[in-house]
C-alpha cells in the first residue's frame, strides 16, 4: 500500500476519533481563550500596545496549547497498544506520523481560526484585511509546531515523567518557529501590513528540515 493511501486512511481514523471525543479541539480552544483573555487584562489593549505585544502573546498561547494537544496524540495509542496494531499493518511507519501531523495541524489551525476574532476584539486589532495572509502564516507556523511536536510526543510517550518531558523537549526546539511566526504576524498586524516572505521562508525551511528528519528517523521513534 502506498504512503499516501495509508496516510489518508489513518487521517480518517484520527478525524473520526476526534469527532467522537472532541477532546483535543475543545481543550485547546478553552486554553487559548483563557490565555488571551487573561493577557488582555495585563496591559491597556490600545491599538498601538496590542500591535506591539499581541503577536507574541498570541503565538505563546498557541505554542502552550499545542504542547497540551500534542501530549495526547501518542498517549491515546498506548491505552490499548493500538500503536503496535498500526505498526503491524502499515508498511511505512512514516504514514503514522504524516497522519498525526496532518490531524494535529488541522486541529490547531481550526482552534486558531475560531479564536482569532476573539483576539481581534479583545486587543482592538483589525484582522479582516489581512485574513488570507494571516491564515498562511498560521498554517506554516502550525505545521512547524506539529512536525516537531509529533516527533517529540512519540519520544516522550514511552518515557517516565512523560507529561513534563514533552514541553521540556519541545519548547526550546520551537524557538525559531516562535520568533519567525511572531515576526511574520507582527508585520501583518502593523499599521502598514506586509507579508514578510523572509520570515515565512525561515518557517518553510524549518518545516522542510524537520519533515526530512521525521522521514529518516521516525521509524526508530516508534520502536519499543
Amino acid at each position: 500500500m502506498g504512503l499516501a493511501r495509508a496516510t489518508g486512511i489513518l487521517l480518517g481514523k484520527e478525524l473520526r476519533t476526534e469527532l467522537r471525543s472532541r477532546e483535543l479541539v475543545t481543550t485547546t480552544a478553552v486554553f487559548v481563550l483563557l490565555v488571551i483573555a487573561l493577557f488582555s487584562f495585563t496591559f491597556d489593549p490600545s491599538s498601538a500596545e496590542s500591535r506591539r505585544f499581541g503577536p507574541g502573546l498570541l503565538w505563546l498561547a498557541f505554542l502552550f496549547a499545542a504542547s497540551l494537544m500534542l501530549q495526547t496524540c501518542f498517549l491515546r495509542e498506548q491505552a490499548n497498544d493500538t500503536l503496535s496494531g498500526l505498526r503491524l499493518c502499515v508498511g511505512d511507519p512514516f504514514a503514522i506520523f504524516l497522519a498525526k501531523l496532518a490531524a494535529n495541524a488541522l486541529f490547531l489551525l481550526l482552534t486558531e481560526l475560531l479564536l482569532l476574532p476573539v483576539f481581534s476584539v479583545l486587543y482592538n486589532v483589525p484582522i479582516l484585511r489581512v485574513w488570507p495572509s494571516l491564515v498562511l502564516v498560521l498554517l506554516v507556523g502550525d505545521v512547524g509546531i506539529c512536525l516537531t511536536g509529533t516527533g517529540m510526543a512519540a519520544i516522550s510517550a514511552q518515557a517516565r515523567m512523560r507529561e513534563l518531558l514533552l514541553p521540556l523537549l519541545l519548547l526550546p526546539l520551537l524557538t525559531p518557529v516562535l520568533i519567525a511566526s511572531t515576526e511574520a504576524t507582527a508585520a501583518l498586524l502593523s499599521e502598514n501590513p506586509v507579508l514578510r516572505w523572509d520570515w515565512l521562508g525561515i518557517l518553510l525551511a524549518f518545516d522542510g528540515v524537520f519533515l526530512t528528519v521525521l522521514w529518516l528517523f521516525g521509524e526508530y521513534l516508534l520502536e519499543e
Partner: protein, 233 residues
C-alpha cells in the same frame, strides 16, 4: 516479505532479548514446522510474550534472528503473513467494532474490507454489535474482536498471547474451534497459555520456557501433557 506456502513456519536462531540488566530471552533456538499448533507454557516472566512480540517484529532482538518462513523478520510492517493477538486488544475504544476491523483491513490491503469485517464479526458472535463502540464491550467481547482483527489478512502464521483472556466457556469454545480450523488449513499457530485446557487440547506441540530458555519441548520426545503440566499451564 514473500512466503512460499510450503515453507511457512517459524524459526528462532540464538534469539536473545535484554531489557537493561534483565535478560528476557537467552539464546533461544526454536524451529516450528508449517502447520504446527504450538503452546508456549511457562510461569510469568518466562519470556513467552517477549518471544511472540519478537516474532511479530514489534521489538528488535538484542541478538539472534527470527524467521517467518524463509524471510527474516526485521520490522512489523513486512510481516503481513503474520496475525498477532497481544495482551492488550489493539482496538480503538472510540470506534465501533466494524470500524476497527475495516480500518485494519484497509491498512493491510485486504480485498473487500467491509465484507471481510462483517464475516469475521459474525464468526466471532459479534454480528449484532458491529455498530457498537468498542468501549461499550465487555472484556470477553473485546478479546473476540481482537482475535477477529488478528485473522483479518488470513495469516499463515498466527501468534496469540493468552488468547483465552476474559473469555467465557462459549468464547473459549469458539477460539478452540477456530484454532482447529486453522490447523486443518495448515496455519502455523504459536500461543502462550495459562490454565485453559480447552485451548491446550488443540495443541500439537508444547514448549515450556523458564527464565528465558527452552526448558522442555514435546518435540524432543517428552509427552505433550507432561510439558504443559510442568509449566503454569
Amino acid at each position: 516479505m514473500t512466503l512460499g506456502d510450503s515453507a511457512v513456519g517459524l524459526r528462532c536462531s540464538q534469539l536473545e532479548k535484554r531489557f537493561g540488566n534483565l535478560v528476557a530471552l537467552r539464546r533461544v533456538d526454536l524451529e516450528i514446522a508449517p502447520g504446527e499448533t504450538v503452546v508456549l507454557a511457562g510461569h510469568n516472566g518466562a519470556g513467552k510474550s517477549t518471544l511472540l512480540r519478537l516474532a511479530a517484529g514489534l521489538t528488535r532482538p538484542t541478538s539472534g534472528r527470527v524467521f517467518i518462513g524463509t524471510a527474516e523478520v526485521r520490522e512489523p510492517g513486512s510481516a503481513r503473513a503474520v496475525g498477532f493477538l497481544a495482551h492488550q486488544t489493539m482496538l480503538y475504544d472510540e470506534l465501533t467494532a466494524k470500524e476497527n476491523l475495516v480500518l485494519f483491513a484497509k491498512l493491510l490491503g485486504v480485498p473487500e474490507p467491509v465484507r471481510r469485517a462483517e464475516n469475521l464479526l459474525a464468526e466471532a458472535g459479534l454480528g449484532e454489535r458491529g455498530d457498537s463502540l468498542v468501549r461499550t464491550f465487555s472484556r470477553g467481547m473485546r478479546q473476540r474482536l481482537a482475535l477477529a482483527r488478528a485473522l483479518l489478512s488470513r495469516p499463515r502464521v498466527l501468534l496469540l498471547d493468552e488468547p483465552g483472556t476474559g473469555l467465557d466457556a462459549g468464547g473459549l469454545a469458539w477460539v478452540a474451534g477456530t484454532l482447529h480450523e486453522l490447523h486443518r488449513d495448515g496455519v502455523t499457530t504459536v500461543m502462550s497459555l495459562h490454565s485453559q485446557p480447552e485451548l491446550a487440547a488443540v495443541a500439537t506441540r508444547a514448549v515450556r520456557l523458564q527464565a528465558g530458555k527452552v526448558a522442555a519441548d514435546s518435540a524432543a520426545g517428552q509427552a505433550l501433557d507432561a510439558v504443559l503440566g510442568m509449566g503454569a499451564c
